[in-house]
Amino acid sequence: MSTNPTNGGEALVRALECEGVEVMFGLPGGAILPVYDPIIDSSIRHVLVRHEQGAGHMAEGYAHATGKPGVCMVTSGPAATNVVTPLADAMLDSVPMVCITGQVPLAAIGTDAFQECDTTGITMAVTKHNFLVTDPQDIPRIIHEAFHIATTGRPGPVLVDIPKDIVDPVNPRSAMTWYEPDSVPMELPGYHPQTDGDPALIQEAAELIAHAERPVLYVGGGILKARAAEPLLELAELLQIPVVTTLMARGAFPDSHELCLGMPGMHGNYTAVTAMQRADLLVSLGARFDDRVTGRLDGFAPDAKIIHVDIDPAELGKVRQYNVGIQGDCKVVIEGLVDITKKLGSGAQADRSAWRSTVSGWQEKFPLTYEQSLPGDKLKPQFVMEQLRDGNPADTILCSGVGQHQMHASQFWRFDHPYTWINSGGLGTMGFSIPAAIGAKAGMPDRRVWAVDGDGNFQMTAQELVTATVEDIPIKVALFNNSYLGMVRQWQEMFYDERFSEVHLSDHVPDYVKWAESMGAVGIRVESPEEVAPAIAKANEINDRSVVIEFVTDARENVFPMVPAGATNSDVVVDPSQQHLLDDTGGES
């Protein structure tokens, strides 16, 4: 657009351009129609999705991969309710995202009009903030405020609900006089995110760390949001303290680093879980003591003092009481810790050699493992994941759905770079991976993007592969098909006496190869181990279309280690082949 907008619809699109939006994901409909007209002339690339949930997850995937806010736009009513899931997902995983929804005209609000719903009311609990715009003159300012709120402090989703009459040029109510969004003051008297940590507390934390004999750096997704992977590496190496990376932080610290213990929590590896459990100090950096990490809370890390760093003050002390709580941006605080640690000098640090040797002893004794398949067995999902890892460069972006394949991916992939792992951690949204992968690929077109998915997940959002084809955003999908809702099956096997209730999907339908082909993708079915690597290599040679490889996997395979629900992390169950080793280590501390 060249001339200045004169109505709310044009102003909305121009304001998005002014915020630097390059790609948005959406689907038009009645109430948002007037905004879709100026889209034709906009510099913004609009990706037309097949379902509004897809638009939301694509915006999330885009944001995860690029660090820029993801943007989606949908119409009123059912379209708005369809983005509720992605909004909740973005809320729990602190994903910066701006969602524009159409709304019925102002005069019709509250009358049960066609495709009306109380979008701001419905989304209040799943957004960082939302707006109902009532005056077109406010549109540039509110769009600027929305991006500001979404991207600063603890990031999160912001929704802007826009009634049709104020964006429709045929309606006189839409008239407005254009101004640049950042040329007027924001009207957010209650929003002042604090990023600087208190220097006295940082000093106190550095001293507490220096005295710790069994410390662990407990690293969460906040490190990635704060772009703090580099200072984290410096801090860890300076202190020589082992690092665990939560499900949301995989890649924030390189898995190949000798100090990296991998993922803690319910399906974390033995060493990461046990190191936290036996630690005398946990330094929590952008993590939130999620129940999947802590297990039974009253038995979690019983001897550990806590340093908790988070940009959200409400996280400090929410779950676990801290000894030093620092509100601040992780990057700023870690840089402060590095400075003070250097000043203290290496002589100030406690002797941690015994701790390091204990930890490496666990690593040697309890590596991730699984039983190889016997001839005639279906594929082992762990084997497929290893082949996928070995067949791709380290900067490949890996997106995941939710369930066993997600845990296997987090366990068996090697994450050596930040922003290469995109998954739904907090909300656990099945169907996340395919649209998230499309969003990531749209934002990073030069990178290879793989989605790992389960068959249950795939059937929830696979239609977005049509979007990928039509919009020329080719992704690769590794579909782990065990014909079951595998994680639920695992729980029923372990905790419900193998009484399998409503977890078997089907051994026969759908035909995933035909389904993939019908959506314009290449479909490949793999059933034997020797076909796995060649199929992955073949998929990697195809760059003009999406590829779906269906790996027919063994439904009997479970995810280990596992901390059963309600148990403490001291009761971690390892792979059956290692369980006898655990019994030998009972007295070790």
Binding site: M124, A125, K128, L132, G190, A314, L316, G317
Partner: protein, 166 residues
């Protein structure tokens, strides 16, 4: 000095919020979805019409007060929030109460005089009274009127400001 009438598990919070549609819903929704309990709530615009002031009495049994304050403070429309120290604040609440007069008008009027309550409306056999005081004193008056027969009762929820003697 005013001694808080509330039980120790009740705390008084005062918040300055933007005076905009939906703000009360955001505050109330937060309480409900995080499992916090509100005992009483009073809200009205301040002298600056851009802002409203909310006085909450919260039941913090089971939820640390700190968490309630921090979560409320995260709401974009909440400009400021703090706890009022009961030792250094003044609390008042208003009650309207309609009671049966019956054959005990004399005894009833003695109570009205005793508490310096106002008679706002009079019927043949009913009186409507108004009284503002510390919440515990309202409880007390309510109990003294109960034997006459309470027809209707409305309390406003408490409002509070810091006292000037600290």
């Amino acid at each position: 000095m005013n001694v808080s009438s509330a039980s120790p598990r009740w705390h008084t919070l005062v918040a300055t919020v933007e005076n905009k549609p939906g703000v009360l819903a955001r505050v109330a929704g937060l309480f409900s979805r995080r499992g916090f309990n509100i005992h009483s709530l009073a809200v009205a615009p301040t002298d600056d019409e851009r802002f409203s002031r909310i006085t909450f009495t919260v039941d913090i049994e089971g939820t640390p007060l700190d968490q309630v304050v921090k979560q409320l403070d995260k709401l974009i429309n909440v400009v400021d929030i703090s706890e009022l120290n009961p030792a250094h604040s003044v609390e008042r609440e208003l009650m309207l109460i309609t009671v049966e007069v019956g054959e005990y008008r004399k005894e009833l009027m003695e109570i009205v005089d005793d508490y310096r309550a106002y008679v706002l409306s009079e019927g043949d056999d009913r009186l409507m009274l108004s009284w503002s005081a510390r919440p515990a004193r309202l409880d007390e008056l309510e109990e003294r009127l109960r034997p006459f027969g309470i027809v209707e009762l409305q309390r406003t929820g408490r409002v509070a400001l810091p006292s000037l003697d600290n």
